[in-house]
Amino acid sequence: MKKDIILAGVGGQGILSIAAIIGYAAVENGLYLKQAEVHGMSQRGGDVQSHLRISSKPIYSDLIAEGSADMILSVEPLEALRYVPYLSEEGWLITNSNPFKNIPNYPDVDKVHEEVGKLGNNIMIDSEAIAKELGNVRASNIVMLGAASAFLDIPMEKLEDGIKFIFGKKGEEVVNLNLEALRAGRKASNK
């Protein structure tokens, strides 16, 4: 088993929480893992990505090679497109549809969505609307994790354990919100 995943977003959108949950679940499942993060200047509202690699065999490179990612999981549609050259032929692009506009030249959103649609294997959902419905837009990142969950080859219960572990310190309410977000994302991606 091998999954190479590019997590994408804008600094502060919570992609490292997604990475931490998948990482926890993968390690609990007895898999090897490497996860490269971006720290420093880019975190100030710039584009950020994390290379997350999971495998049943030891992993060498901390970086995923262009043309070999099994999945791009993004919390922002333009940021999803930024890593398209990394995607393998059969790879999936899974993204939130809501743009995060902190630059003056953000392209036409319809065009961005159109580009996402051009990729054969894509899932685009409005994770913010789903999170809002659940009561907190901040759970939008976990909705996206839910949307990707069917493609991770990691049992749903392990991801739920990961959420309990990562958000445990923040109290039961936060844990339950994120568990609901995970399930709602999974449901939305099945549509």
Binding site: G40, Y60, D62, I64, V84
Partner: protein, 533 residues
């Protein structure tokens, strides 16, 4: 014991803690910062009372680490690559004083300049000082090299460099721990003159240092971090340093057909290099950073075996390695990949919404740029360097820590008016104070703006040594009390702030303006934890 999921930086930090660390010294700098942060929040460090506060800059940190080593205990000093330039004086001399307690100089390089002004390769410094260096290829090695590094340091009585690069520093993987080693007891050096570099002593020490070189090569040849892997196909031999080994093996999931020398400890293991160069038709050099090993292999005459690497363009001279670059260097076709969608635009970093620096820059634009045009504001290293970006477009330089003040002095000497320096509070503590002393001594006609946001923001909210002391420092150095002006960078205070800047430009002499408002991240953190608002 269950594996811990650690960043490369954190793996090294856990490694030194488990290897009997007594003191951490350093100044934050991407990608080295997480070493110190990990030690600072470690319950193990707290329980043992490991010394672990940040220092004012890399030089003072390096000197304090040498002092702890003098007193027999194990110490590390951490910094980013350009920080080693600041610490270069004590660093170079520490090769001659040597170490008593184990001393590791941990330097994190940033090839591709993700968060830096250059991509200098710190291995050149280890070669310059002629001391051993360790370069991990993965998180487990980063952990293991901590204990090995202390042992090496105490064996040779020398500081040892630990060199990591961005990708490993900031990448997480599982790490297994060994048993905790006890800290050393405090002791004075057995040779009372060990740290005395009067010329007569220094000459003897340098001779001794030169004699030690052969021993260090031998240690490299026996090191668990240097290996020779044989391969059936001798048409090519590959020498891979640090992370380069990973990118190589990534392209050979079923094993590499060529012989490989994997390097993790310097000076170079001569016998392994001789073996691979004598057995193979040509050599591919895969090293993360500048072509340090490649240059040594080629020599000036380059009359030996054919060597491919960064110097002949097989790999690009600049920038970090990745699996695709190494794949191309191996002559393999690129993996098929999709083109970048045409709609794509860049998303550069920017000042956060609500950032106090934004209001300071708006005021500076109005008082300086709108009136005198571009070219009058020297800046420095920190979040506020983003004041270069639109819509602020307020600053004209970013060179090194502290350079804003001293460049403004030089430009004022040349007749530039007004000459303004913009520096952050932590950067001022790092290297601005001495520059301010110069300004006072020379009675330079400069306005120094110290942006006080109560933290070291860019690297992730570390404490700053000058917090709460800025006015007293400036006054103590000799700035006239009436020309130390504290302002509140808020949009509703804009007009008043512009007026203060204008008044201080009009004053002939040294003025200090301190726009003071906490970083919004510090503010919201305090608010969340129920502290002051």
């Amino acid at each position: 014991m269950q594996k811990m999921m650690l960043l490369g930086d954190e793996a090294f930090a856990q490694g030194v803690l488990d290897a009997g660390l007594s003191g951490f010294y350093g100044y934050p700098g991407t990608p080295s910062t997480e070493i110190g942060e990990y030690i600072q929040r470690s319950p193990q460090a707290k329980q043992r009372d490991v010394k672990r506060l940040w220092h004012a800059n890399e030089k003072t940190a390096m000197e304090a680490a040498i002092g702890m080593s003098y007193a027999g205990k194990r110490a590390i000093v951490t910094m980013k690559h350009v920080g080693l330039n600041v610490a270069a004086d004590p660093f170079m001399n520490s090769a001659l004083t040597g170490a008593s307690g184990g001393l590791i100089v941990a330097v994190a390089d940033d090839p591709s300049m993700h968060s830096s002004q250059n991509e200098q390769d710190s291995r050149f410094y280890s070669k310059f000082a002629m001391i051993p260096a360790l370069e991990p290829s993965n998180q487990q090695e980063a952990y293991d090299m901590a204990k090995h590094g202390f042992e090496l340091s105490e064996k040779f009585h020398l500081p040892v460099m630990f060199r990591v690069t961005t990708r490993l520093a900031h990448s997480r993987a599982g790490v297994s721990r060994h048993e905790e080693v006890a800290e050393n007891e405090m002791s004075k050096p057995t040779d009372p003159n060990q740290f005395m570099l009067l010329p007569a002593f220094a000459r003897k020490k340098y001779k001794h240092h030169l004699e030690m070189q052969e021993e260090m090569v031998k240690a490299s040849e026996e090191s668990p971090f240097n290996s020779y892997f044989d391969g059936a196909d001798k048409s090519l031999g590959i020498i891979a340093c640090g992370l380069g080994y990973n990118y190589l093996m990534e392209n050979y999931p079923d094993g590499c057909p060529y012989p490989i020398v994997k390097i993790g400890q310097y000076p170079l293991p001569r016998k392994m290099i001789e073996k691979i160069t004598s057995e193979c038709d040509e050599i591919l050099m895969v090293e993360e950073g500048m072509p340090l090993v490649e240059e040594q292999l080629r020599g000036f005459l380059n009359n030996g075996i054919r060597i491919k690497g960064r110097m002949d363009g097989t790999l690009s001279w600049d920038g970090e390695l990745n699996p695709a670059k190494v794949r191309a260097a191996l002559g393999m076709p690129a993996l098929p990949s999709k083109p970048m969608p045409e709609v794509m635009v860049g998303r550069p970093p920017a000042l956060c919404v609500g950032c106090p620096h934004a209001d300071s820059y708006k005021a500076l634009r109005a008082a300086v740029v709108d009136k005198y045009g571009q070219g009058h504001i020297f800046s420095d290293i920190g979040c506020y360097t983003l004041g270069f970006m639109p819509p602020y477009k307020a600053i004209n330089s970013c060179v090194d820590m502290g350079a804003s003040i001293t460049m403004a002095i030089g430009a004022a000497d040349a007749g530039l008016f007004p000459a303004i320096a913009v520096i952050g509070d932590s950067t001022f503590g790092h290297s601005g104070i001495t520059g301010l002393l110069d300004a006072i001594y020379k009675q330079a006609n400069v306005v120094i703006v110290i942006l006080d946001n109560d933290t070291t923001a860019m690297t992730g909210m570390q404490d700053s040594s000058v917090t709460g002391r800025l006015e007293r420092i400036c006054e103590g150095i000799g700035v006239e009390k009436d020309h130390i002006r504290v302002i509140n960078p808020l949009s509703r205070m804009h007009d008043e702030n512009v007026k203060v800047i204008e008044e201080e430009i009009a004053y002939e002499g040294v003025s200090v303006i301190i726009p003071r408002r906490p970083c919004i991240h510090v503010y919201s953190k305090k608010k969340r934890s129920g502290g002051e608002e």
